[in-house]
């Protein structure tokens, strides 16, 4: 392979990674935008989402890489798995909000954030004890279809990842900009007190934010499983931390920022690994986190946090 083809291949890899990070980053950013709370449980909602997808595929009789589906069957299997992973993760997010965070609402300081760390550990240990520690062999029902673009290889899986991510992003953007609930969300993010006075049901908005963010994490998790044919109870942290960095880079609180941030982090990971060294990519990514926090805390698309009255 030529150097150009390798670079192109890394861009393709980076876009796939970036799509996953972006979907995951949206969950951080939506909750932060509305509650000004960093939800560390999101890491392991993502991890559980991948297990929900795994169980859904296994319930359809798919295991290992032995069976390949095509056409309508493939579409049906994937639609079912996405529905289970997204709905399950979304409901889990809502449950976390209802059980662990709502009772603490209004308490100032870091109480809520620390609670989410606790919840994260609970989820982590539930899967560790319930599903076991070994790495799981994720089914891949997709046929091996590959296209050659000037030396680089694009897999059907990658095309599907991009298409699904794009569709979810466009859907989310339409939801936030066009629907009543979306409008209420934006209003709450700007100033929850004023929104409440204007008759916005803030509780409903918060539930919606948790549901949507967690459901997208579920989608990201299923994509993760299909892409790597692997999941384990450990996957939440490294993906979650990068997605969090993506959210900060894009401007925490900003949905388009999370999307762009995710893709940038994905590209930095692969191109940095190619051009510098793979063992330095973590250093590069987390240096970006620190630099953004120090010099441009609003990120690429963020706005300064509204002053609380």
């Amino acid at each position: 392979m030529t150097d150009g083809a390798i670079l192109l291949q890394q861009v393709i890899n980076g876009l796939s990674l970036g799509a996953m990070y972006a979907l995951l980053a949206i969950g951080f950013t939506m909750v932060y935008g509305i509650l000004e709370l960093i939800n560390f449980a999101h890491f392991n909602v993502f991890m559980i989402g991948s297990f929900l997808g795994l169980w859904a595929l296994e319930a359809l009789g798919l295991s290992g890489q032995s069976r390949v589906l095509t056409g309508l069957e493939l579409f049906g299997a994937l639609a079912f798995a996405f529905a289970v992973a997204m709905l399950g993760s979304g409901l889990l997010g809502v449950a976390i909000e209802r059980i662990a965070l709502r009772p603490l609402r209004g308490i100032p300081g870091t109480t809520g954030m620390i609670t989410t760390i606790g919840v994260s550990y609970i989820l982590f240990n539930i899967i560790l004890l319930g599903a076991g520690a070994e790495s799981k062999n994720y089914p891949n029902p997709m046929p091996r279809l590959q296209w050659n673009i000037s030396g680089a290889v694009v897999d059907l899986r990658e095309v599907l990842i991009w298409a699904i991510t794009l569709a979810l992003m466009v859907g989310l953007q339409l939801f936030v900009s066009r629907t009543r609930l979306g409008k209420a969300m934006r209003a709450t993010a700007q100033d929850s007190e004023a929104a409440r006075m204007m008759g916005v049901d803030v509780d409903r908005v918060i539930v919606a934010a948790f549901f949507l963010g967690s459901a997208l994490a579920g989608a990201a998790a299923l994509i993760f499983g299909l892409y790597y044919n692997y999941t384990s109870f450990l996957i939440g942290y490294s993906a979650g931390l990068r997605a969090f960095t993506a959210a900060v880079l894009g401007g925490i609180g900003s949905v388009p920022g999370a999307m762009v941030g995710g893709v940038i982090i994905g590209l930095i990971e692969t191109l940095g690994g190619q051009l510098i060294a793979v063992r330095w990519t973590d250093v590069i990514i987390f240096s970006i986190l620190v630099l953004v926090l120090v010099f441009a805390p609003t990120g690429l698309f963020g706005r300064a946090a509204p002053t609380k009255s």
């Binding site: 890899n13 990674l17 793979v278």
Partner: protein
Amino acid sequence: MMTTRRALVVHLPAAALAGSVLSRMTFAADKSVTIGINVPLTGSDAEAATQIKDGAMMAVDEVNGMVAGYKINIMVLDDGTTTAGQYDPAQAATNARKMVADPSVVAAIGPEMSGSGKAMAPILSQGNLATITPSSTNPDITDPKFAAQFRPMGKAIYFRTVTTDAYQGPNMANYLVQTLKVKKVYILDDGGAYGVGMADAFEAQAKKNGIEVLGHDQLDPREANYTTILTKIKGLSPDGLYYGGTSLAGIKLVKQSRDILPNINKAGGDGVYSAALLKGAGHPAMDGWYGTIAAPYIAGNPEVAPWIKTFNEKYGIGPSGYSFTAYDAMLVVFDAIKRLAAEGKPVNRDNMRDAIHTANVKTLQGTVSFDENGDIKDRTVSVFHYEYNEKYPVDDLIHQYKYLGVAPSTS
């Protein structure tokens, strides 16, 4: 003799002193010893660790827990933690202290992993407690160069029923060049003591053999995405890939390398010859991989067939290469107890260490004896090739891996 519990408590010391009815009970209580088994039963190494523990327990069950009049108590310790997701050297050190603190522990089996071994060895040396590892192959732990670090008290306490990566890595480098005709290789490790040692030893010998080493990089076992490094490797067009490490990184490497580097020779050590890897990666991702173990190929010996059958029936899974060496390690411990008992010496830690060091025991793999550092004298490394056989369970090591022969040793 009818007696209430309270009465028994009151009368017990007197009765024992009198040496009458209860003499047998006190006899049994005096003559019992504890053997520690330290393996990572939590995390991604759990399956391999269980196979090792079961191998050792086969030996205990065969003698019904009695050796030369001593009742054998087994203390199982887990050095895997959820925070590490696999073996955890910090937990291994805690376990080593626990064994040293308990005077009834006279010898130990384990650890499985070299990273744990490095943490345990200095503590075991302080307590003069001998351990026999059935699988940890990092050469530093027994190397006299590092004696100040790993055996500060001087005497060998870390014995092995497998050989070390000083042979496992280099012998595979010889195999790659002599049999597979590999010319350009890329090396990966998982950053653990075992993986790094193995990959470094391989690299040194590969260079001596005239193989061009295109690079040597490290995989983070808690990371999921290896496509970046594998794409980078693809750009260098190697015809061989060598991996030093355990299954946590190994599973992801095997899967992702199948898509990115489908047609090159891929090889690893005993970390690749693992049931967890077969289960997590399996067919077709594993197709074409080569693995080794730092011991002779025991499962091929027809005399061992009944042993394998019993193991299968008892534990519902086939033995791993290191189930055999764990059994062998327990036989060495039992032999030491027998010899001490025959000579009338007390079965304590100091005597056990000396007796183990002078072992000459017939085991499944042949005669086990140790050199002055505690390493096994037999230095056979066996090579295997993954060839999927649908008639057997996916994680059945003996049937999914085909034995190819002994890796050629250097000189």
